[in-house]
């Protein structure tokens, strides 16, 4: 009976992937600036820590937030896909120090930060303060460019090969934000 119950649960969770019930996490604020010929990106997200994710952190698990930042060149022909000219992957991590009762955040800016509030930890893990995306020189005048950002939140992970199919069965613990697109004025002075 347990086997059957587990199987039914598995099927339900599996098909939950088709409905964006758990996809409330979004990248809310994005800011782009040009300083000394380099395009910088600032962003912050919200709803990264769902109830399930919080439970994992408090239970001593590690939560990994992976930001994918792409700089894309818009294709001149409608059907053709846009070309990726630069990709960055930024990983932030949160764990809970049981002995000191503190949340430990590992981010790209500071190697290790400690805080006692989970909200503060969420804020720090879901924001990028100032990240150099691409040099202005790499963009050409005649083309259109845009930056797109997406964050992946992984709180339960297993080692491959089981890990590959595992993620599909854990939409409550592993999910992502939709792509957020920010157009650039293609290299104009």
């Amino acid at each position: 009976v347990t086997l059957l119950r587990r199987t039914i649960l598995g099927i339900v969770i599996f098909f939950a992937n088709f409905f964006p019930l758990f996809g409330k996490a979004v990248i809310s604020k994005v800011n782009i600036s040009l300083e000394d010929g380099i395009i910088y990106l600032r962003l912050s997200g919200k709803n990264f820590f769902t109830e399930e994710v919080k439970k994992i952190i408090l239970a001593g698990g590690e939560v990994k937030v992976t930001f994918i930042i792409d700089c894309q060149k818009k294709s001149s022909f409608p059907i053709l896909p846009d070309r990726n000219i630069k990709r960055h992957e930024i990983i932030h991590k949160v764990t809970y120090d049981i002995l000191k009762k503190e949340f430990v955040v590992f981010s790209s800016e500071a190697s290790e930060e400690r805080t006692t509030s989970i909200e503060e930890a969420e804020k720090r893990v879901s924001e990028i303060k100032k990240f150099p995306v691409i040099s202005e020189r790499e963009l050409k005048k005649e083309f259109l460019y845009y930056i797109r950002v997406k964050a992946y939140i992984n709180s339960l992970e297993l080692y491959p090969p089981l890990g590959y199919i595992f993620d599909v069965f854990t939409p409550l613990w592993n999910f992502s934000t939709p792509w957020r697109k920010i157009p650039l004025l293609g290299g104009k002075d």
């Binding site: 086997l3 059957l4 199987t7 992937n17 698990g61 764990t95 049981i98 939409p171 992502s176």
Partner: protein, 471 residues
Amino acid sequence: LKKKLLPFVGIGIILLGIIALVVFQLRSQLPHRILPTAGMLFLFYTISFISICLFISVIINLIKLISERKRAVIGSAFKTRLTLALSLVPLFSVLLLLLLSLFGLSESFKLLNTLPLTKIIQDILVLVEEISESETSSEKLSFTAERLQETFREFRKIELATQPMKVILSLTFILTSLLILNSALWFGFRLAESIARPMEKLLRGLEKVFEGNLNYRINFPTKTEFSHLITAFNQMTARLQQSRQELARAQKIAAWREVAQRVAHEIKNTLTPLKLSAEHLLRKLGGTPSYPYIQNIINQIKGLENLLSGFSQFAQMPKLNCRKCSLNQILKEIKTVYSSADKNIEINLDLDPALPPCSVDPILIRQAFTNLINNSLTALEGSPEGRILLKTSFDSQHLKVEILDNGRGIAPEIKDKLFTPYFSTTKKGLGLGLAITNQIITAHGGKLELFSKINQGTKVVLTFPKMKDER
């Protein structure tokens, strides 16, 4: 071509559907994990799909079998038992195997829970040991505590993942089991069907024959031993049909003979006084203007007598006066007679020089051959390049004479009527030739067979039994 392409189109649509599902499901995957996860998902969906298809097929087959059993269709009882035998045995063995692997699965779950725990206990033991040695510096102690926390985190990670992993393992187990079970069942059904099908065909064929339909033939190509059985059945029905036709022909001829005998007798009785009276009148009225009319009456009576003699000959088969003769010699003589008759028609001989002599009545056989050649000549009338071939051959049991022509042939619908007395395709023929010929050949213990194709020609095959001392 459309039928051949249909499965490929179906498979293509299903593959596209599966790919669409996979793509849809991969939205929350990290870019570097997409491909392996997609592969796993594809496998998962394909296995599920095959399993579902097999399951549906098994259910359909089951319903079909039950309905056949209810309607008491021929061979359904046999098929049911065969299906049970062929699907239940693998089913039980597979179930046993699955039970064993279920036991293994639960054991691995237990192992999953205990493995990291031992590691933590080890670390705690080290920590306790270090605390007991009070001399140790606090720096070393905090390092050990840090390491213990790291191990604990690792353990929590595995522990937290255990529940969903159990769900996945259960799901995978159920899916694989269903695939194996359905495959076993489907294979059993399929095998039972392949064995029962020829048996069913054979039983149906027997029923048809029992109902009196001798035209029924089983057309079922199979590579098993059933093919011999089916061939034997088809040959048996063909022979049965042939002998039935021969019997019908013989009965018809016997009936006609009876009629012919009576009619000939009755007419002859009336004709004799009529002819005598007419001759008497002819003598009396010789030289008068009525003379040609009476002469005409006598001529007509003579014609009638000719007709009657044909009838009598058909009715009364003269006694056979058999002696050892060479069929080759008879055919050669006939050829010489006919060669001078018609210059347009070429008669050729293809005689086997080693043909053994045969015990026949030479006069009657010559008449039979002549009748057949006359028929061929009639069929060749008006054709510019008429050819007749007389051929002899033999085997261990029989002597064979073939008369072939390239005439207009015989329509299939009148082929059976040809042996009926008084049936003729020409206006001048009496329609007794083939009937008498058949009678002569049958009286010699032989067989007459006709093969013909419209506008291509006719082949008459006469088979005579070989003389006993020649065998």
